[in-house]
């Protein structure tokens, strides 16, 4: 169904991060928001993305926010870095979604909602780490990878799934030895994200064994957050609820705390 050659070709065709965005990210990582916003203003597409994103209902601003410096100021250092990663990911979104009944606005809403909830989760866990805060942005990459690899095989997958409850992630893993989160990790690597982020993204699948300490805790919260978001009506209708296997036993012990955190966000 999917060959290793196709996967290699997919990875090779991931575009590198545009120079302007890379520079803005470097400034953000160095803690210089002024330079980062100045850099970001030079890219009209990035500027439009930031403006559109900040005026989505989830941020709840009454008046239109349009200046990049203002946007970065509102977001703060960690969230600005996160938003730049979100923008990079938006460059990979397909023009037309075929596998999932989704549009790009819904996808951006998903990104924004995941980011907001992740911020609350990290506050709850008392973790103040910009890299960890940014890592969550790569989780929806798994959806884009899935769309790209399986869009032309929708009918085949439907036939397979009519006899066996197999999710896309498992199908890909059984056919190639790599799963959607491994490929999302490849995207992160290509965009020169730190190795810690790559590792975290991979562990969010809930299938990585021998996780311990903070790594395990973050993987659990990421996995449950992803399923919380994918259980929202719009994403259930889009077919996203079925794209990976929910490892309920992996997250069972954090459910109560999770419910409290998302309820208060």
């Amino acid at each position: 169904m999917i060959t290793s050659d196709e996967i290699e070709s997919y990875i090779q065709n991931i575009p590198p991060a545009p120079a302007v965005v890379q520079e803005a990210l470097n400034h953000a990582r160095a803690g210089d928001l002024t330079k980062a916003s100045k850099c970001a203003s030079e890219d009209p597409a990035l500027k439009l993305y930031l403006k559109t994103l900040m005026n989505r209902p989830i941020y709840g601003f009454r008046n239109e926010v349009s200046d990049v410096a203002q946007i970065f100021g509102i977001l703060g250092l960690g969230a600005s870095q996160q938003t730049l990663y979100n923008y990079l990911l938006s460059l990979l979104t397909p023009k037309k979604w075929e596998l999932f009944s989704l549009n790009n606005h819904q996808f951006y809403d998903l990104q924004a909602s995941i980011s907001k909830h992740w911020e609350a989760i990290l506050t709850h866990l008392k973790i103040n780490d910009k890299e960890i805060q940014s890592a969550i942005t790569l989780i929806p990459a798994s959806i884009i990878v899935c769309e790209s690899l399986f869009a032309s095989r929708k009918a085949e997958v439907a036939q397979l799934r009519s006899v066996k409850a197999l999710d896309f992630n498992t199908i890909l893993f059984r056919m190639s030895g790599r799963d959607l989160f491994d490929l999302s990790g490849e995207i992160a690597r290509k965009w020169e994200m730190p190795d810690r982020i790559v590792t975290l993204i991979r562990s969010a699948s809930g299938t990585v064994e021998d996780l311990t300490g903070q790594e395990r805790v973050l993987a659990q919260w990421m996995h449950l957050l992803l399923f919380y978001e994918l259980s929202q009506p719009a994403y259930v209708s889009a077919g996203l609820n079925e794209f990976i296997d929910f490892k309920i036993e992996f997250v069972q012990n954090i459910y109560e705390s999770f419910a409290q955190v998302v309820q208060n966000t």
């Binding site: 169904m1 999917i2 060959t3 085949e156 439907a158 036939q159 397979l160 799934r161 009519s162 006899v163 066996k164 409850a165 197999l166 498992t170 199908i171 059984r174 056919m175 449950l224 399923f227 919380y228 994918l230 259980s231 929202q232 009506p233 719009a234 259930v236 209708s237 609820n241 079925e242 296997d245 929910f246 309920i248 997250v251 069972q252 459910y255 419910a259």
Partner: protein
């Protein structure tokens, strides 16, 4: 979301959170229509991967399940839950549950008919004595061996020896049970259990498509276990007469065991005998009499005496059947199957060692039987995607082979619908020993296509 169909059980696998807001999003109108059209005996919703649910969320599925149950008289309910979830569902619906609850999918499958003749020993307990008895009777009717604990203490004690049982049934409730005629397989005979007063309702409760499937895949002996029948009326008589006429085309035998004529007119017996049905006092009169069993068609081979020949329509559609097979193999393995030769001949297998076979029948505008014979290594490779375990047991491989053949059947159905042929597929059947299949297929002429896959030879055979 579509239900996954395994054997005659359809299951919705839900994940994540389920509440009144998102539950309707799981089911489009097309999904509901497709579910209502499924040819199954049981429809379940698995709660294994649902971390949170509330009554509003469940209600959406309860409504669908109730509609399907009312239309098709099948068993509907929820499965795969822990004790906490079981208690929550019971609290939500109290005594008004219009559905069944099965702790696991494996337990649910014990309450349905299959092509396998496996009698399972199970330990069972329910606080409600009437539920306990109802479950035990049903399990017995499906050919299993239920051991019923009379108290919680006895149950906990017996539970300690869990290796003695195929399943331990607790937190399970039949609720408002579907009223299908229970079916079990013993060797090559199919046994239907009927009870009480038989009237026009038998048309709804008897699973005619399962019966037709069984005829198509080679079963030739059908026994009605009628010990619990009190009487029947003219509508039931007509039903059995028609069933006998249909069976005659396949040279199949239909028998009644234990039917009393105290309250049923004696003339009915004559009418049924004229239609070709036979009557026996005890089940063992048939099952323990090897010669009689052989004569009735339940002795193993069950080959039809009147073999039906290939027809032009079927041969014309041959490319579609081969296409469905080859493309399914390519889809599941990323490797190509090469067609070596095509001949019209009886099934010829160079060696029966280290081979698995499977078959699936189809009926409708055209009818026939697809048989596949693989070397074990190829069967294992073809099923790797479905199993996901390189060290799978033979039972797992054969189960997956059935799913694999189901996909081929499904693909053939889609391809043929392009030529305006409407057809249904039967339950797949798998054979760990190819000789068993040969007993069914010997002397049958068909189209044999010899294919090779990664240097190994496998056979596609299409017959009627």
């Amino acid at each position: 979301m579509r239900a996954v169909v395994k054997g005659r059980v359809g299951i919705f696998y839900l994940q994540g959170f389920l509440d009144g807001n998102n539950a309707p999003s799981f089911l489009t109108l097309e999904d509901i229509k497709a579910t209502e059209e499924l040819n199954i005996d049981m429809l379940l919703v698995s709660l294994k991967k649902v971390i949170f649910f509330n009554k509003n969320g469940l209600d959406v599925f309860v409504k669908l399940l109730a509609n399907v149950r009312d239309q098709k008289h099948i068993i509907v309910g929820f499965c795969d839950y822990d004790h906490t979830k079981y208690m929550s569902i019971n609290a939500f619906y109290k005594d008004n549950a219009s559905f069944s609850l099965f702790k696991t999918q494996e337990i649910a499958e014990l309450f349905t008919s299959s092509n396998k003749s496996e009698s399972r020993t199970v330990l069972l307990y329910n606080e409600d004595p009437s539920q306990r008895s109802a479950m035990a009777i049903e399990l017995f009717d499906y050919g299993h061996n239920p051991i019923m604990a009379q108290s919680k203490v006895e149950f906990e004690e017996k539970k300690k020896n869990d290796s003695l049982y195929y399943a331990i049934i607790e937190d399970t409730n039949l609720g408002l049970y579907g009223q299908k005629v229970a079916t079990r397989v013993t060797g090559n005979a199919i046994i239907y259990t009927i009870s009480q007063f038989l009237d026009a309702e038998i048309n709804d409760t008897f699973n005619l498509s399962y019966h037709q499937n069984s005829l198509n895949v080679g079963f030739r002996l059908f026994i009605f276990d009628a010990y619990k029948v009190i009487s029947m009326n003219i509508h039931a008589l007509n039903f059995f007469t028609k069933l006998a006429s249909a069976a005659a085309e396949y040279n199949a035998s239909i028998c009644f065991v234990g039917l009393s004529f105290e309250k049923t007119p004696e003339s009915f017996k004559n009418d049924l005998e004229d239609a070709g049905l036979m009557f026996f006092d005890n089940m063992d009169d048939i099952l323990k009499n090897k010669d009689l069993l052989q004569e009735l068609g339940g002795g193993g081979g069950a080959a039809a005496k009147q073999s039906r020949s290939l027809n032009k329509v079927l041969v014309n559609e041959l490319p579609h059947f081969i296409d469905a097979t080859v493309s399914t193999i390519a889809m599941m393995t990323n490797a190509e199957a090469v067609k070596n030769s095509v001949n019209i001949q009886p099934l010829s297998i160079p060696t029966t060692n280290n081979q698995y076979a499977s078959s699936i029948g189809f009926y409708g505008d055209i009818d026939g039987l697809i048989i596949l014979i693989f070397p074990k290594t190829i069967a294992k490779k073809a099923c790797e995607l479905l199993i996901g375990d390189a060290n799978a047991s033979e039972e797992e491989i054969l189960d997956s082979l059935a799913e694999f053949v189901n996909i081929i059947g499904g693909r053939a159905k889609v391809l043929l619908s392009g030529n305006k042929h409407r057809l249904d597929i039967t339950l797949p059947r798998t054979y760990a020993d190819v000789n068993t299949l040969l007993e069914i297929a010997h002397n049958k002429k068909g189209v044999q296509v010899d294919l090779s896959f990664e240097g190994e030879h496998f056979i596609f055979f299409l017959t009627r």
